[in-house]
Symmetry: D2
Subunit: 436 residues, 4 copies
């Protein structure tokens, strides 16, 4: 967890205090269920909840000190709680095993983290949508391979981003469902010493579903799927960040990250305004993706479980969710405040001497009876001249002066093909598909 | 693609012939749609389908030869088809761009690959279920950390695997839906020169959904999610493979891969019977997981697209699906023919001098009024003696001779806790959850 | 192995014929050493080498057919050789185990692959060096964050690439040494049935060093280091490829991949000339990097060995080396034939209205007694005006008309700071460091 | 950084205070060099060092507060230092750029981290060596595929680990050299405003080498190689950890992690003693390996640099080195205190009814004139009976009663082949190779 790339709500989920509070709730709910089943006295559950109602401060240092001796974190916690609650606490954890607490707690934490991330995505979608409609018909050049292709609109670029993050949301909802399960099934998952109804009770109280079959632990394919999903979302963040980085390049400069008063782009060069936020997002995306492989390696635990996954999750549980939360919020800010330069977009659109209209002429030639091969050759030979002139020459003029072209297509018919609006006819259709 | 780890049906999906056939169908369906819209003559579509009805041999070498000049695969293909079909072919590909063909073809291939993988998972689930019911009540030791914990049944181990691969199926269905989209939207996705109804028509014919917004290419977050899902499934394969490898260890030998007549385990040591299939699966899982990261890196293409993803997909499209198909089938064979040794399972269960019953005594002591801390200490001190005797001593006898223990729990009450069946009471519940 | 991304020399190393030929040489050398030690008859070694001298065709299909029964590749091979050589062949493989053959063979293959890759790097270094000297003093804008910073030369960009690939060579030499070891140490590496002198003899004949301690297998940390090194080299390829992709962007167009006659950039848009080779290299780099993780996961084999690494190496042995070989050669071609546009470089350099000289004015102000903070503020406020004018305004003029600036620095002193040559004074120093 | 998996010395390297202290030293050394060259007054350098001699407390919060406005960390630091030192500080950072400070600082941190890691490896090697000699001739079964193969010694297992970590040391030394370079070359690496001699001076003072050609930043292939090397070392840690985990399995129990008084293996099962340290190491290895891919992705920065690597390094710089430092120390502790059970090793060796001697009989039969194929068949058919008896039958007796075997080899000749010491003859040779 890097403070610079962390936000408080997500960070709080992973604090020791939050973790111990969830542990307590699991234990107390389980004790209540055991009491309702007559396995332990009702007074035991009451003692726990009564103490909890006093909103006690959880003494992390004291628990850590006990763990230093027992080398077992759950036992340390139980010991400390017993010291606070007194004798009735001995009924706590009856028939349970540590993983019942640890894994169910992780499920609660990941579900809460998912909820924050889902809210982040909603905010991002909202910002993208607003800017997409704002620039629905702002023409700009579409680029494949970094090379001018044909016109699009800036709104279309954002519509694509919207659709992508809408998919991210769908995937995250599935991933959340995958990890939000509760296991209270004992030492090897057989419910040997604890009734399955306890698990159902605790699951219900915590908003989780029951794990159908656990083996002391909740199976780690669930978590692998979760972190893999975060990795895919990080990829989508990198994509939009990369778009902004490209648009802000000096030679392109069609859009720019907001540059606040007092900000300095470089310690050496006072003229600099750099896309540092989106570059930063590119790096953060690498990290979130980097956590996917350890999560995948965590699946194949030995037999009913080994504990090799645990240290991995102590890192990536917080690091992946905190980083992604920060990245989504940062991206939302970038989109929200992005400074867009429609004039520059138009200028760039025009700078290639009309090359962006080459396809329409090609098609018109084909429709006029010229073979596809010949049509391609005719247009390409004129286009290459414009290309090599760095846009000084005009494709329209060259074509209008190429007798082989005009033999099939009169000059005015060629001119008709150089029409920007033609390319924007279906923007509404696409917006309907995306935002409807 | 490694022939040794490939099966013919999946391999066929990725052959050049299959790819070109799909390309043709996309082009011919699109031409038909264009004809229906009046954009091109009906004769053009008819010419294509008439030629196709002759079941022509696709001349891969000829197409490759054209590509060597044009350095563009779709143009090479179109040129070759035009040579076969004649003049009417010039209406083909009208208003389309190469990626319309390439990306929609990849969608068809990945959808077909998914169907094979789904069938693989079904077969695996079937095999696991059969063996799970066969060994529903075959007792075996549950192990955490590789150390004996408490009894489970071999059927429970398989029930866990069943639940895990049932999740794999759900995930793969979602991943299939994610990639099975059709884009026929032109050079930068604006439908500038092609009506969106063409896309809808082709999608319908090919069993795909329409891509809401494309940018020449179908967005690669879809493919990233697909390959990430395969990586998670590979993790589940590794998990079950690792279980078998452990069970076959000389000292454990509770189950064994089928060893066929004539097979040799070692060139040097004639006594060897090695779990080579599941070790192989462990390696194959590494490969399928290894393809996840390149797929994630493919998401952030530049602007409307660059072509860096293409080479990656030429590798991982076939390699990930062919390898996973082979691995799933191999795992099904392993499960299907696994030789299970219930006697050895019982022998191993018994070898720890009853240590596996330690928890029940602990709980009984707590219920008898001893503090949790003291109960733990009493049982642990006797258990450690048994542990150090390598199972020569009996935990039951030691406890029955420990006055501090018997002060709380009479010897016959202790003996009651050493009951194997107690641990199997909830097997039905779990089987209902998993297989119902 | 993707034919499209493969070159014949590297591919040949991984053919079954080449593998079996190396196997034979290992077995025959070992038999000779055993004969020299008196363990087997000299006639046995002679029979093997006599047969080999007839340059026999290796019948891969026949060997595969035997393996289908034995399920063991080395035994299948030995059986086939015995069929060819006759009775004397029974002394072959005496005291050896399959891994002695397999792992030593892999060492030979990786050493040969390294030699090809080293030659590839040499060719690349040569091409880079030639172009670097050609453009040693061709001015171009240096960019940080994609934003104009200060002038560099195109030769300096290439000098950096040269230094990076010189490091790649050093690393690959180390990686080659790491994997080029020979193990002939028997079933668990104890030399139980084979004299260590046999290993030394075979190592010497094959140009390998002796593995100090093997455990049936050569330890896989060696291979992990090898493939990790290939992954780092792939990263360097991606870096230079990315530079070219950026330079070829329409708005930048300072350099371009060679575009051959007959080549087509797009099936739809005849005006396109895309950096497809370097985009392809970006994708290939992803693949080579993707093979690093499986190689790292191969290290932790169980006990003296398990065979999970084997399938992984069947993929990545060929795939990583063949892909990297192809990529290095392709990159060499790109560099060799890169079309460079010095005029466009100068035009881009000039387009920011002199902003690239902002630092020198800042420093001059500081030296003239203005505080660093104030100097920065003075230059930044003028620079931002130029920035927002898109280079229409001139930084020099603005500064010369800013009384706060001229109070410290007279106009002519400011003008002196706008000198391009000033930035090139140390190019010789850097070239000496890199190429000396 | 996870406190639980961190040690203070390594953590200290990455504290803000340590980082700012290194920044100061770089700036102060550079100012001194500039003063010696006459570029700035000697009084400027003196002012800096005089202040530093007062051992000032670095006020991290104050610097952070300035950064919140400037959004630039180095400028914030310089501003704060200027506030402390006064007017003379304006000569600081003359002609330098932020990356000169940041990258050189990172080089110092990684070099220091390497030194700690090298010391860790030395300590580990020492512990392994001691235990290796202690058990040089302790017989134990060698296992391939988890299946008994032939005898080795426990010392040989450790000799292999020693050789592997000796390689780790060599690799880390190379990786350290790769990252320990100094760049003080200005905004785009041209030394436009700073003399190259300043770089040489600072490099010398900080124990670094001069970066031959930088581009504002030190090239990131260096760091990729560094982190990849840490990943390989993590693989070696996982290998030895996995060995211990296997040895501690209940059924094997040939060695055990030290179990301290008061330690509890399970909250539910008082009988448990789990290999939690080595399982933990397995997880930590996954993390260190997981950082390799982001480091590889950091190489291809845009043009002279972008800043996407920076956030990645803020994570993996500390996380990879701190985790590896902790893991190496933990592994050293495990090796140092490992409880080894030679009796159990012997018992396991004997449990297969002599199967481990099968190869010697095979070889003897071949030498006695039986064909290799027949020899294999004869031994295998008897071995399989022993295998299926779970070691109840004796291979020696079966062979001595197989007339086809005794026809070639008299019973007493067979008996000779069942000799454990035969397998240990070359232990000295191997130890000499490894430890000499």
């Amino acid at each position: 967890m890097i403070p610079r790339y962390s936000r408080p709500d997500m960070t709080a989920i992973w604090s020791p205090e939050a973790r111990f509070a969830i542990w307590f709730e699991i234990e107390a709910h389980a004790t209540q269920a055991l009491a309702d089943l007559g396995t332990v006295p009702q007074s035991a559950a009451k003692a726990l909840w009564d103490w909890w109602a006093t909103k006690p401060q959880i003494d992390v240092a004291a628990i850590d000190a006990i763990e230093a001796v027992t080398k077992h974190d759950v036992i340390a916690f139980l010991t400390w709680v017993a010291e606070q609650v007194g004798d009735e606490a001995r009924f706590m954890h009856q028939g349970m095993t540590s993983s019942d607490v640890l894994d169910t707690c992780l499920a609660v934490q990941l579900a809460r983290a998912s909820d924050l991330l889902l809210a982040d995505i909603d905010a991002l979608l909202e910002a993208i949508k607003r800017r997409a409609y704002e620039h629905k018909l702002t023409p700009t050049i579409g680029r494949s391979h970094g090379i001018h292709a044909e016109p699009v609109t800036f709104g279309l670029k954002l519509a694509q981003a919207y659709a992508e993050f809408a998919r991210a949301k769908t995937r995250l909802l599935a991933a959340r469902a995958d990890v939000a399960t509760c296991a209270i099934s004992g030492a090897v998952g057989t419910f040997a010493n604890i009734d399955p109804r306890v698990e159902a009770y605790v699951a219900d109280k915590l908003g989780l579903t029951v794990e159908p079959v656990s083996t002391q632990v909740i199976p780690r394919d669930r978590h692998a799927m979760f972190f893999a999903t975060l990795g895919v979302i990080a990829g989508s963040i990198e994509r939009l960040a990369t778009e902004v980085r490209h648009l802000q390049r000096t030679e392109v400069l069609e859009a720019e990250e907001y540059f606040s008063p007092g900000q300095k782009g470089s310690s050496a060069m006072p003229h600099k305004r750099n896309p540092v936020l989106t570059e930063n997002l590119t790096g953060l995306a690498r990290m979130v993706r980097g956590y996917v492989t350890p999560a995948l390696e965590n699946v194949a635990l030995w037999h009913e479980r080994d504990i090799s996954h645990s240290s991995v999750e102590r890192y990536i549980g917080p690091d992946a969710t905190i980083t992604l939360d920060f990245a989504l919020a940062r991206l939302t800010g970038v989109v929200d405040k992005l400074v867009v330069y429609p004039k520059r977009m138009q200028k760039n659109l025009d700078r290639m001497g009309g090359l962006v209209h080459s396809q329409r002429v090609l098609l018109a030639l084909t429709q006029a009876g010229v073979s596809r091969e010949d049509s391609y050759r005719l247009v390409q030979r004129n286009a290459m001249k414009v290309w090599e002139s760095d846009g000084e020459l005009s494709l329209l003029e060259l074509l209008q002066n190429d007798p082989e072209v005009t033999a099939a297509l009169p000059p005015e018919a060629i001119a008709e093909k150089f029409d920007l609006d033609y390319h924007l006819r279906h923007v509404d259709t696409i917006f309907d598909r995306v935002f409807a």
